[in-house]
């Protein structure tokens, strides 16, 4: 287990960029930089991270960064990696995309790269909506959440990207959370050391889009895990394993009530009002379903 003290002291993502105050994406980028000690190349599609970079001619990135079109991430990373290999440059190529750019418009390119088992690390930072364009629903937006395109709460359940990627039988799939940076760092390091397609899905509570004060980014992320709304796990060469805080939560009685998570966030406020009761029950049911699937996997493991 990596400790805080061991973390790279250098900042590879410089301060003074355009992220909102309390932004989970910039925290993720900081940690990514430290995990790989600045020795990697970023590929970034349209998302908050495009804007976070600020405006030409300056950038906060101390690693080479290729901005690319929204739907193109994984394919561009594949091409870039191919070129570097031909040039004998052995540096990890890390695709860094939002949830919309991953589970919606970038899914095809992601799936293609996964099927080809391209030697890249794909990280989806999941702030559960199109935040850059002002909080529209994405496939990853959870059931019940308000966004500007789901004014009464989303009616469909979230698309489960890590499962979808896992169905491609790639060498490494993991979930993580910005609230557990050391767990994330460790997963990044493990992934980067493997050959082939690696996928990490990073939960990233966004104060702007989820409507909570910027000081609570970590708190909200922690509650997502503690209430079981977000599950930390990894699938290494097909073997499923709960990790970190989630290890202890298979027993439902160990989980905090989901209301504790919801009540911090403006986007869920209607769920806690009487008219939201039914939706809240649905949501709880979905959490149970997810854990019961996890249970099957954990028990079915050799």
């Amino acid at each position: 287990m990596v400790t805080v003290k061991e973390l790279d002291r250098k900042e590879h993502w410089l301060p003074g960029h355009s992220a909102c105050s309390g932004c989970p994406a910039s925290l993720g980028l900081r940690m990514l930089g430290k995990a790989l000690r600045g020795n990697f190349i970023l590929v970034v599609p349209a998302c908050c991270t495009t804007v976070i970079q600020g405006i030409y001619p300056c950038t906060p990135s101390q690693v080479p960064l290729l901005n690319i079109a929204f739907a193109a991430t994984a394919a561009t990373a594949s091409g870039l990696k191919a070129a570097l290999e031909l040039r004998g440059v052995n540096v990890p190529v890390v695709a860094w995309a939002g949830d919309g750019g991953t589970v919606d418009i970038g899914l095809q390119s992601l799936s293609g790269a996964a099927e080809r088992n391209e030697d890249i690390l794909y990280i989806c930072y999941d702030n559960e909506a199109y935040q850059n364009t002002g909080i529209q629903r994405s496939g990853a937006t959870p059931y019940g959440a308000w966004t500007t395109t789901t004014p009464l709460g989303k009616r469909e359940r979230r698309k489960d990207a890590p499962w979808i990627v896992a169905a491609h039988k790639v060498p490494y799939v993991a979930t993580a959370s910005v609230a557990y940076p050391l767990d994330f760092v460790e997963k990044v390091q493990k992934a980067a050391a493997k050959k082939g397609f690696k996928y990490i899905h990073l939960h990233a509570p966004c104060p702007t889009g989820w409507r909570f004060p910027p000081s609570k980014t970590i708190e909200v992320g922690r509650l997502a895990v503690e209430t079981g709304m977000w599950i930390l796990y990894e699938i290494e060469d097909g073997v499923f394993k709960l990790t970190g805080r989630s290890k202890a939560l298979l027993d439902p009685s160990k989980r905090k009530p989901v209301e504790e998570y919801l009540k911090l966030q403006g986007r869920f406020s209607h769920l806690l009002r009487p008219e939201g009761r039914e939706a809240l029950e649905s949501l709880k049911l979905q959490i149970e379903e997810s854990w019961s699937e996890v249970g099957k996997l954990v028990r079915g493991q050799p």
Binding site: I55, A72, G79, L80, A82, R87, S109
Partner: protein
Amino acid sequence: MQKTVISGNEAVALGVKLAKVQVVAAYPITPQTIIVEKIAEYVESGELKARFINVESEHSAMAACIGAAAGGARVFTATSSQGLLYMSEMVFWAGGARLPVVMAVVNRAIAPPWSIWCDHNDALSQRDSGWVQLWVENVQEALDTVIQAYRIAEDERVMLPVMICLDGFLVSHSYEPIEVPSQQLVDSFLPEKTPAPYWIDVTNPRSYGTIASPETYMEFRYELQEAMEGAKRVVKEVDEDWGRLTGRSYGGLIDLYLCDDAEVVAVLIGSWAGDAKEAADIMRSRGVKAGVLRLRSTRPFPAEDLVEALKDVDAVAVVDRSLSPGLPSILLSEVKAALYEHGAKPYVKGFIAGLGGRDVTPQDFVNVFERTLKGFKKGETGKVEWVGLRGVGSGHR
């Protein structure tokens, strides 16, 4: 040089091999498919040391090419019609990013209705994308132009992606005897790709393509326009160089056939130039001085060369194999605009023909020449006429 009988598609693949392309990412589509298959074979057999990325769509094909080009590799892809439209966002991206990607577009009509046959609407639909667009007439030129394309794309004065347009089936599937340049010759003509000027370098980290505010964006576009001016020079130079080495050159930006003394000239792009040239011969045998001006390049649009070639011509027929619905016709506009400047404006008449693979014969071109001369003599307007239209007006509506 070795002689062989191969198809246009095979010639493109051979050109790719000779150019020592390093990364290929492509997706199949009729009538381009054989290019992709052939390259896959070269790569698998080790004849071409490259990575072949079997992408899941054309958008990803171009995305992968962009990634690879930004990473410093020499890259190639090919597509047609729907595939080109599907990757359009990335086509514009490659142009804006100034990456020397080379792509063959095997021209095919756009659906619906579905058609796999030749017209030029696909490539022309990308004429604003910042790509140099070169059009070939036959199989030999297809091969030669692939090799030329890399010299052009990678030239410091250009640094732009290059599209090679060849007519679907008419060139792509036609087998013709051609001369194959030796690898040595090609190597001497086309230097090995160096990672510069564009490459990702961990020791000198940069962010590519960040947001440009209204204060800076426009200048990047101006540079792009300047690069196109550069391309005008470079396309000619490269073609001349190639001519010196192989004895084959194609006129640079425009290919002139009997235009010197012509009274009537047909302006067009693509492989039917051959049929038009036959028609010009027929006209001349009848005492009419006809000529053919084939644009090899539509971007940069060779306005100066075109005006120079047409300045003493009485009548010009612009024959489009494409349609921009709501505009009389595409090349016609650009040719007229180029001539507008010029003092003695020739009579210009537009024709649309050959859409969706409709057959067009030398006789059709003879008619085009005659119709144009008649229009000129009678002082008619240059109203666009459609060649070989069937059953329209008579209850078709």
